[in-house]
């Protein structure tokens, strides 16, 4: 794997080219991810003298100053900007590349459901975004149940089908876990995603009284992440054995980690000294 990653650095550069242009759009979204791609490379590139390398790799570096030209020209870099202008031939493909826009999170703005939720719940609706045309509504943890019941029971929306329920682990962030719900409305034929962030020690309200299907899905989340659900009728492990220790899908649970005690007790396999 490490080999693979090293390769990424060089071989993937061409493909990544448009990406350094993007972080500006992505920055408002860092709460969702721990890692920011390209943040190491982006600041480095404008320092390169852009004209001396006619290679493709240098092009995004030029594309960047070109976009910011108005601020930069009065400063000490007019020469560099001028050099970029003076070499129009390698620039031709540069125009092409930004056309293929990297998908980003877009604000939903005045979308009907978001407006309705804001009217009903005010500040509890933290954000409404779309990524690749899939709408994401982020709800404050303490209002989650009310919002879900509203989404399910309001005749206007009727999100009667809980398609999926899962969790994400953002290790190291104060609100460590993110619950993710996919809801589908049969009358509207519309799929949305509802997200809510929880602290590690917080109890997540169980949705099993709203949709029966949440029962096993929450058990799976409990099994894999150790998230406890308030009001769940039968919260116990589902895929792993009942007496297993640890929660495998947490980010601090290494892939090779096993419950050695359980394995030696039940399977009589002792760990081979490595």
């Amino acid at each position: 794997m490490s080999e693979e990653e090293k390769k990424d650095g060089s071989a993937g550069e061409q493909q990544d080219a448009p990406r350094p242009d993007q972080p500006a759009d992505k920055r408002p979204e860092p709460a969702d991810t721990g890692v920011k791609p390209g943040s190491e490379t982006a600041p480095a590139k404008p320092d390169q003298p852009p004209a001396d390398q006619p290679k493709v790799v240098a092009e995004p570096a030029k594309a960047r100053p070109a976009a910011k030209a108005p601020e930069q020209t009065p400063g000490s870099v007019p020469g560099a900007a001028g050099a970029a202008d003076a070499a129009p031939k390698p620039k031709a493909p540069v125009v092409k590349k930004p056309v293929k826009k990297v998908p980003t999170y877009e604000d939903l703005g005045d979308e009907a459901l978001l407006r309705d939720l804001r009217d009903q719940f005010g500040q509890a609706v933290i954000s409404g975004q779309a990524f690749l045309d899939q709408q994401i509504y982020t709800i404050a943890a303490d209002s989650l149940t009310e919002v879900m019941v509203y989404l399910k029971d309001t005749p206007k929306w009727r999100f009667d089908y809980l398609v999926d329920l899962t969790a994400l682990d953002y290790l190291g962030e104060p609100e460590r876990f993110c619950m993710v719900y996919h809801l589908y409305s049969n009358p509207l034929g519309r799929l949305i995603r509802v997200k809510s962030r929880f602290r590690e020690d917080a109890m997540v309200p169980s949705m099993s009284s709203v949709w029966q299907t949440a029962n096993w899905m929450e058990r799976e989340v409990y099994d894999m992440f150790g998230i406890e659900f308030l009001g769940h009728p039968d919260l116990k492990r589902i895929l792993l054995p009942d007496d297993w220790h640890g929660y495998p899908l947490r980010k601090d649970y290494d892939i090779k980690l096993q419950d050695q005690e359980w394995i030696s007790k039940h399977l009589r396999i002792r760990k081979t000294p490595s």
Partner: protein, 370 residues
């Protein structure tokens, strides 16, 4: 005294499985019985848990693919399809039309093969051996087609990012045509054996009834949901991969019992055949693989790619942190969620009906446990 109790035993707890041929894998059902009547049923699953989701977080986007073959091994083609569609969408990879057509054709072949296996084992569980032999005869033909195109029969690793591994081999189209030309007659044969069969009707009609509303509440999908008359087929509701270009009907049941689910799935086989026919008639020429970057690094973001697998809605929720390794891949397994309804479906039925209901849910334990 309760007149239903036999002997003095009020409640008897027995284990059905995990080593029981009629549980279709290592499924254990703890049954609480009163005589032969089921009071309660609890599923114990996880015997096949391999941690596919965890493995996905430690492999790059391409290397994940073979693992999804092995979740639902009966429908390996559609399993890979859902994931690849999701990654392609995030990477904005364009798939050539020919590849899209072939993908749909193979997915539909897989649906037929999967339904055939379901029908064969379902009927076998209930006592109809002949159907089993007939279904395996046709399934073999499909597996031969798989082998010709993918090089494998079961864990096919069917599709690649951006298209296909290779174009259709010589003679494939003729073989496929031969199969679909004969197939309606074969389905008639199965129906002749079962649809009006007195025993089959007695064993399946009114068994495991669930209303449409309740089925939605339980999150059921696929044939189990449509057997209850709910019109929800991801291919129609949220068309993916070019399904909107083909004509097909979504069969629906009325009563939501085992018999209706049987009728729905049999009709689905005919509809799948219709789709394959259209693909073969309109198969365009051209490349089979689009332009794919050497290293797949989807932008920071998330995408839910849901498809209609033979067993129901199969979803891949892919979260990317911008690196070459997924931050998280959540598989929404249709049978895991369908199996949850088993408890509700078998309450009050006889032990023999439990077998019929497990059969009608069409469970694949590899996918349930992942």
């Amino acid at each position: 005294m309760d007149e239903r109790t036999i002997l003095d035993a009020h409640e008897l707890e027995i284990n059905l499985g995990p080593q029981h041929p009629a549980t279709h894998g290592v499924l254990q059902v703890k049954l609480k019985l009163d005589g032969e009547r089921v009071l309660d049923a609890e599923c114990v699953i996880g015997y096949l848990h391999r941690g596919v989701e965890k493995i996905s977080e430690n492999r790059n986007y391409v290397k994940c693919v073979p693992y999804y073959d092995r979740t639902d091994y009966i429908a390996a083609v559609s399993n890979v399809y859902g994931y690849i569609l999701g990654v392609e969408k995030m990477m904005e990879i364009e798939v050539p039309e020919r590849a899209q057509y072939i993908r749909i054709m193979m997915t539909e072949f897989n649906r037929i093969a999967s339904h055939l296996l379901w029908l064969a084992t379902h009927a076998l569980d209930i006592g109809a051996l002949t159907v089993f032999l007939y279904c395996f005869r046709e399934r073999e033909e499909i597996l031969k087609l798989f082998e010709a195109l993918f090089g494998a029969r079961l864990t096919t690793h069917a599709f690649r990012m951006g298209g296909l591994w290779m174009d259709l081999p010589e003679g494939f189209v003729d073989e496929a045509r031969k199969f679909i030309d004969d197939f309606p007659k074969k389905v008639d044969e199965y129906e002749q054996l079962l649809t009006n069969n007195r025993i089959w009707i007695d064993r399946t009609k009114g068994v495991g009834v669930i209303s449409g509303e309740e089925a939605v509440d339980f999150g059921l999908s696929g044939g189990v949901l449509r057997g209850s008359g709910v019109n929800y087929d991801v291919r129609k509701q949220r068309p993916y991969g070019g399904y909107d270009r083909f004509d097909f009907d979504v069969p629906l049941g009325d009563n939501g019992d085992t018999y209706d689910r049987y009728l729905v799935r049999v009709e689905e086989m005919r509809q799948s055949r219709r789709i394959i026919q259209q693909v073969l008639d309109r198969l365009p020429d051209g490349p089979i693989r689009g332009k794919v970057p050497r290293v797949l690094k989807p932008p920071v973001g998330e995408y839910y790619s849901g498809i209609e697998s033979p067993r129901g809605e199969l979803g891949y929720y892919i979260v990317s942190d911008g690196s070459a390794v997924p931050f998280r891949v959540r598989i929404r397994p249709p049978t895991f969620i369908n199996l949850q309804a088993l408890r509700r479906l078998v309450k009050g039925l006889l032990v023999a009906d439990v077998i019929a209901v497990i059969g009608t849910l069409d469970v694949v334990l590899g996918e349930i446990d992942r």
